[in-house]
């Protein structure tokens, strides 16, 4: 027998076994309808749970990307002050973050996919439950308990199959997100512990930042000094041509006008 047939048979027999056999088959309809509403609520919660996980991963990606940008800045600064060793360290840490970021982005895409699938499953189930409700009322209004048996069987099989499908979708989504949530938890802890922040918090526990700060406060003085020197030099040169450096601006331009 073909694979498709075998799966169909197993699936259907399991879905049918799940149906409750009540004394008055019409009661089965109400009971089943209640279970359908419960399942619908469960899918909605599933969609919300997956969305929460997705947002959490988004937030983490943003945080890690900010850290990565900071490390890039540190590397550039380190190079500008001639400290290749510090730049190398910053870039090494950045590359570690990049791996985590691409891993998180892959998770994000997967969560988005699960969210879409569950949303569609919810819409399909919603449509079937709505039909079932109408069918249920018709059956109860039209048939006696004895007559209703076949009609009920048909309606129940149809909805049972959909419920089995949706139930499976929820279970798979839960299994997939559970693993991701554990990893997301680990990254949250890492962020909260400051292990990632420290790398780029100036004056914090970060050695790169500390060294760069020390270097830059030293080099800032040198830069300022160089600026002052450079600022006075061009005018000194000009003074050779135009006369007194200390001559007031107005007179200087008047001199230039005369030339």
């Amino acid at each position: 027998m073909s694979l498709m047939k075998r799966i169909s048979l197993v699936f259907r027999s399991k879905a049918n076994r799940a149906l409750d056999k009540a004394e008055d088959p019409r009661e089965t309809l109400d009971y089943s309808y209640q279970r359908q509403l419960d399942l619908l609520a469960k899918v909605r919660r599933g969609v919300a749970d997956v969305a929460t996980s997705r947002k959490r991963v988004e937030l983490q990606v943003n945080q890690l990307e900010q850290q990565s940008t900071k490390l890039q800045g540190q590397a550039e600064k380190a190079i500008s002050v001639g400290r290749e060793d510090l730049a190398r360290e910053a870039l090494t840490r950045k590359s570690g973050l990049s791996n985590q970021i691409s891993d998180l982005k892959a998770q994000h895409a997967q969560l988005l996919g699960e969210e879409e699938k569950l949303t569609l499953a919810q819409q399909r189930l919603q449509a079937k439950v709505e039909s079932f409700r109408t069918r249920k009322e018709t059956i109860k209004a039209t048939y006696t308990a004895a007559e209703a048996q076949t009609k009920i069987g048909e309606a129940m099989s149809g909805i049972g199959e959909e419920m089995g499908d949706v139930g499976l979708a929820i279970q798979r989504a839960e299994d997939k997100t559970a693993n991701m949530q554990a990893r997301a938890g680990a990254i949250d802890e890492l962020i909260a512990s400051g292990a990632l922040d420290d790398v780029s918090q100036p004056g914090g526990g970060d050695d790169i930042a500390r060294e760069l700060d020390a270097l830059s406060s030293g080099s800032d003085v040198e830069t300022e000094l160089a600026k002052l020197k450079a600022g006075s030099r061009p005018e000194a040169l000009e003074s050779g041509q135009d006369g007194d450096v200390l001559q007031p601006e107005s007179e200087k331009s008047a001199d230039e006008g005369r030339q």
């Binding site: 073909s2 799940a18 399909r124 079937k128 199959e161 499976l168």
Partner: protein
């Protein structure tokens, strides 16, 4: 005939496409039997693509049962084995 792809919903497949789908189905079946994960992924992908291309979505508001039920597109070989054995995967 109505074919359900788990996780996707029901499709109406014209009867004259059944032979083509049976061939694709055999490839999935033999991959499951030999435990060849790569071949399984490809064969399942081809089978589901075959269904989707041959079919139109079945009307959403009906309570019709499906003639055939197929595994989800991203099912693993183990999941399909579970589906076949009736253990675990289908919530009772």
């Amino acid at each position: 005939m109505i074919v359900r792809v788990l996780g996707e919903g029901q499709y109406d497949v014209p009867d004259d496409k059944l032979e083509m789908l049976n061939e694709l189905d055999q490839a999935v079946e033999s991959a499951v039997e030999t435990g060849d994960t790569d071949a399984f992924g490809q064969a399942l992908g081809a089978l589901l693509a075959g269904v989707r291309s041959a079919a139109v979505p079945h009307e959403a508001g009906t309570l019709d049962t499906s003639d055939l039920i197929l595994p989800p597109a991203d099912a693993s070989l183990e999941e399909v084995r579970d589906l076949l054995s009736g253990d675990g995967l289908i919530p009772g």
